[in-house]
Amino acid sequence: MNDDVWRWDYAWEVFPEIVGGGLWTTVQVTVLASIVAYALGLVLALLRMSSIRIVSTIAWAVIEFIRSTPLLVQLFFAFFVLPDIGLRFGPVTTGVIVFGLHYATYSAEVYRAGIEAVPRGQWEAATALSLPRSRTWTKVILPQAVPRVLPALGNYTISMLKETPLLLTIGVLDIVGVAYQEGSAAFRYVEPITIAGVLFLVLSYSASLLTRWMERRVGIAR
């Protein structure tokens, strides 16, 4: 029976390992990194749009630098180089920070586009009412800009989800990491890798359903 392309008994054996070990790591890193990316992305976008030239230039440089270097290189750098200068984090934490920071720069550009899409008349009306700057941001501009960009941000979460296998390189075992480990232990890769693929399909499809639902909600709100 060893010649079978697919063995159900083996598949059932590795399935709980992959779900129990890898799935949780994948979901955990994706969710935490998304939170970091969305929050930090907004901060970067606001700094990028600052009227103080030096602030916006620095924000621009940071965004461009991080966006233009590969995620894999950033992971290596954070995990293997930064400890030499005293910045040492656990592998999962490193993954969350690097993924979060990397996608924060993409999110920043999305936020910026959303903010710039708010008509100038909204700013002018706020000025005519003498609303303070901070209040204009929190009550007028961001409530209009953020819902519009939620679907785009959701797509970044889906990309992040699909990039978690990169964490293997710094020793964090996500879905693919665990599947690979199981496969090499039994010298059978078909079942674990297929299961990993199906799990990703289920995860990213549900995430895209969620994003589409948000898109509709935004459409209704407008």
Partner: protein, 254 residues
């Protein structure tokens, strides 16, 4: 109430206003007419601090809007100073510019609560009175997107009034409205102008309205006031050929 002293405004190489002088007395209703691009709207935008003067000085009441005196010298005013002075000024825009993420009530109470420091109850009472005045009492919980253009503009007028301005700037407030909605909004403004002591500065192409409601009409061309007269005089017997041609063109267009 408003005084422009030798005000100039350029956008890059384009000079929009050039050595402009005029005053508006408290409670006066002054209408600015003239061809597009003659600088009328720029005057309102300078008063609302949406633009800054290139040269000259603007006074509102007895305060200087455009400049502050620092160390015995006049320097351009900072944002903080302008924010204080512009509290006395309200503006109604061509495109209404209501906040679409807020209901009508919130549109009317946000600034009175935040800027004038009113209590929520006080601000909401005042908002209901104003909605009643503009004839939209039943729309208090509507979102702007659920209102017609005319209704949105009425809410925008109520929102400006909620700030108890001394000066109200009207920037082509009926230009974006469907023709059948124009008369209602103009009648409302006429009513407000007659029953309050607010000073109005109005840019419009509605010549009938201008003639009816204004104390004074200023004809603009090329960044200068070329004629400044009572409406009856200006509309029936203008001194300037340019004014006559402009009025004729507007009337022919209907």
């Amino acid at each position: 109430m408003i005084r422009f002293e030798d005000v100039g405004k350029s956008f890059g190489p384009v000079t929009v206003l050039d050595g402009l002088n005029f005053t508006v007395a408290p409670g006066e209703f002054v209408t600015l007419i003239g061809p597009s691009g003659s600088g009328k709207t720029t005057i309102l935008r300078l008063l609302m601090t949406l633009e800054q003067v290139t040269s000259g000085v603007i006074y509102v009441g007895d305060e200087c809007l455009s400049h502050v005196t620092r160390g015995g010298r006049q320097v351009p005013a900072d944002e903080k100073h302008q924010r204080e002075v512009r509290k006395r000024i309200g503006m109604v825009f061509q495109q209404f510019n209501l906040f679409p993420n807020m209901k009508v009530m919130q549109n009317l109470t946000e600034a009175p609560i935040r800027v004038l420091g009113k209590s929520r109850a006080e601000a909401e009472d005042r908002a209901r009175e104003l909605l009643d005045l503009v004839g939209l009492s039943e729309k208090v919980d509507a979102h702007p997107s659920q209102l017609s253009g005319g209704q949105q503009q009425r809410v925008a007028i109520a929102r400006a009034l909620a700030m108890q301005p001394d000066v109200l700037l009207l920037d082509e407030v009926t230009s974006a409205l469907d023709p059948e909605l124009v008369a209602g909004v103009l009648a409302l403004l006429k009513d407000i102008a007659r029953t309050t002591d607010i000073t109005f500065l109005c840019v419009t192409h509605e010549m009938g309205f201008a003639r009816d409601v204004s104390d004074r009409v200023m004809m603009f061309d090329g960044g200068k006031v070329i004629e400044d007269a009572a409406p009856d005089k200006l509309f029936s017997d203008p001194d300037h050929e340019r004014t006559r041609l402009f009025l004729q063109a507007v009337l022919e267009r209907g």
